[in-house]
Amino acid sequence: MATRQTQSLAAIMRAPAIILLLIWMVVPLGMTLYFSFLNYNLLNPANTSWAGFFNYRYFYTDPAFFQSVWNTLVLVLGVLLITVVGGIAIALLIDQPMFGQGIVRILVISPFFVMPPVAALVWKNMIMNPSYGVFADIAHFFGVDPVDWFAQYPLFAIIIIVAWQWLPFATLILLTSLQSLDGEQKEAAEMDGAGFMSRFIYLTLPHMARAITVVILIQTIFLLGVYAEILVTTNGGPGYASTNLVFLIYRAARLNFDIGGGAAGGIIAVVLANFVAFFLMRAVGKNLD
C-alpha cells in the first residue's frame, strides 16, 4: 500500500531516534568495557596502563563484592515479596464496593510520585528516627525501647522505604488487571457456590498472572538500580551492610576515583541485568502481535 515515497519518508522519520539510541547504547558501553581492562585512577591518571583481568579479579575477590551482590538480591526479593503480596491484597480490597473509592485510590498510589530522596529522608527522619520518629513514639507508647533502624537493620529499613515507593505501582497495575476481569464469570462462579478462596485461586489469580509477571519484571529492573535511597540514609553502611552493587560501583568510581574498577563492576551489573531483561523482553514481546 505504502508508496516508495512514504516508505523513504518513514525511514527518515525513524532515523534520528534509532541513531541516537544506537550511539547511547554502543559508545558508553564500549568505553566501559575498554576502561574495565585498564589500571586507571583519576587521582593518578599519568600511570594508566593495561590491566588485563585485574579489575575483575580485584572486584571478584573483594569480600564487599559478594556482600553487595547478596544485598542486591535481598533488596530486590524483599521489595518484590512485600509489593506483590501487598499489591494483590490492596487491589482486591480497593476493587470491592465502598464509599470514596476514587480518593482511596489516589491516596494509595501517591507514594509512587514522591522522588526517592524525599521518600528516603522523610522515612529516615520523621518515621524511623530512634529519638523523634513516629515509630519511636509508638514504641514508647507500648513501653518498649525504640529500634535504631539504620544502625541495627539498615538493609531492612531500606527495603521498607523502597517497598513503600513501589507498592502503589504494583497495586495500580494489579488493580487495572483485576478490573478487566469479566464480572459475569465472577457471578457464575459465585452462583455455582465457589467461596472467596476458590474464586481467588481458580479465577482471579490466573487472570492476574500476566500482570503479576509484568510487575515483577519491571520492578526488578528498577530495583536493581536503587541508589538515592541508600545515599541519603545509610550511605551504604554500617560497613557494607546496606551497600548494593550500584552503590559499590559508585563508591569505586566516584569516591575512590578508580575508573578501571568501577568499569569492571559496571560490566558485571550489565550481565546481571541481562538475565532479567531476557525474560521481560519475552513477556512484553508477546503482546506486540
Binding site: Q7, L9, A10, A11, R14, P16, A17, L21, W24, L29, T32, F35, L93, Q96, P97, M98, F99, V104, I109, S110, P111, F112, V114, M115, P116, P117, A119, L121, V122, M126, I127, V134, D137, W164, I173, T176, S177, G183, K186, E187, R210, A211, L224, Y227, A228, L245, V246, I249, Y250, I259, G262, A263, G265, I267, A269, V270, A273, A277, M281, N287
Partner: protein, 274 residues
C-alpha cells in the same frame, strides 16, 4: 455489576480500605503537617495539629535559595520531554503507520536499551561530562534525561498511534493527500491525547530521576532531587524546613500523577497492561 451489596458490607469495606489508604499515605501527610510546624514543634513528639506557620517555607527560600533548584527541575523535566517528543513522535509515527518487517525488532531493541543499568555507564558518562564541560550544566542533563526516557516515550506513542484507525488514512490517500498532509490535517488532531499522556508521564519520570541528576550536578544545574539529597546529614536542614522543601518538591508531580493513573499503567508496562 448487578450484585446487590448490603450496606453493612460496604461500610466494612470502606472502613478497612480507608485505614489502609491512610496508613500508606501517612508519611506524605505527616510531611505536609510538619512543614506547617515550627522547628521546635517538629521534634516535640507525635502531633497531628501544627501551628500552621509558613515560616519554614519562607526560610527555605531565603536561606537555601529554593527557587533555583525548583526552576532547574522544571527546565529539565519540560526540556527533556520536549526533546524526547521531537525525536520520538516521528519515529513512533513511522513505525505505527509504515511498518516494515523489522519494526517489531526495532521496538524490542529500543526497549532493551532501557534495561541497561545506569551504573554500567556511570564511568564513561562521568568522564565525558567532565572532559566536554557538560558537567553541572542543564543542557547536558536535559539530553541525558531525554535519552533514558526516549524508549518509553516511543513505545507509549506507538501504542497510542496504533489505535488510530487505518481506514481514515487510506481514505485520505485515495483523495491524494501526501504523507505530510495526512500527518498535519488528519492524524495529529487524533493523536493529541496520546501525545499529551506521554508528555505527562515523561515529565513525572524526569522530575523524579535520582541517579543521573545527583551524579552529574553540583550546584548550578542541580534540580530538586540533588538539592534534597544534599540535606541527608542530620545537621543539614531542620525537619520543618526539610518538610517544607519536600512538600514543594513533590506537590506538582503528585497532582499530575493523580490525573494520569491510566497512562501510567500503560507507559510503565510498555503497553503490556492496559
Amino acid at each position: 455489576m448487578a450484585r446487590a451489596v448490603t450496606t453493612r458490607t460496604k461500610a466494612i469495606n470502606t472502613a478497612v480500605a480507608w485505614t489502609v489508604a491512610l496508613v500508606i499515605f501517612f508519611p506524605i501527610l505527616y510531611t505536609i503537617i510538619t512543614s506547617l510546624k515550627t522547628e521546635s514543634e517538629a521534634i516535640a513528639g507525635f502531633n497531628l495539629i501544627p501551628s500552621f506557620t509558613i515560616e519554614s517555607y519562607i526560610a527555605v527560600q531565603t536561606q537555601n535559595d529554593y527557587f533555583k533548584p525548583f526552576m532547574n527541575s522544571v527546565i529539565l523535566a519540560i526540556g527533556s520531554t520536549i526533546l524526547a517528543l521531537i525525536v520520538g513522535i516521528p519515529a513512533a509515527w513511522a513505525m505505527a503507520f509504515s511498518p516494515t518487517r523489522r519494526t517489531k525488532d526495532i521496538l524490542m531493541w529500543m526497549l532493551s536499551t532501557k534495561m541497561m543499568p545506569a551504573v554500567a555507564v556511570l564511568v564513561p558518562i562521568y568522564l565525558i561530562f567532565l572532559r566536554t564541560g557538560l558537567m553541572d550544566t542543564r543542557i547536558g542533563l536535559t539530553v541525558m534525561l531525554m535519552l533514558i526516557n526516549l524508549p518509553i516515550v516511543i513505545w507509549m506513542l506507538y501504542t497510542y498511534f496504533r489505535e488510530i484507525p487505518g481506514e481514515i488514512l487510506e481514505a485520505a490517500r485515495m483523495d491524494g493527500a501526501s504523507l505530510w498532509n495526512e500527518i498535519v490535517y488528519i492524524l495529529t488532531p487524533m493523536a493529541i491525547p496520546g501525545i499529551a499522556s506521554t508528555a505527562l508521564l515523561n515529565i513525572i519520570l524526569a522530575w523524579n530521576e535520582s541517579f543521573w541528576t545527583i551524579q552529574l550536578t553540583t550546584t548550578n544545574a542541580a534540580p530538586l532531587t540533588a538539592f534534597i539529597a544534599s540535606f541527608s546529614s542530620p545537621q543539614g536542614l531542620f525537619w520543618a524546613k526539610l518538610s517544607a522543601a519536600s512538600t514543594l518538591a513533590i506537590a506538582p508531580i503528585l497532582i499530575m500523577g493523580w490525573f494520569s493513573q491510566k497512562q501510567l499503567v500503560r507507559g510503565l508496562t510498555f503497553g503490556a497492561v492496559k
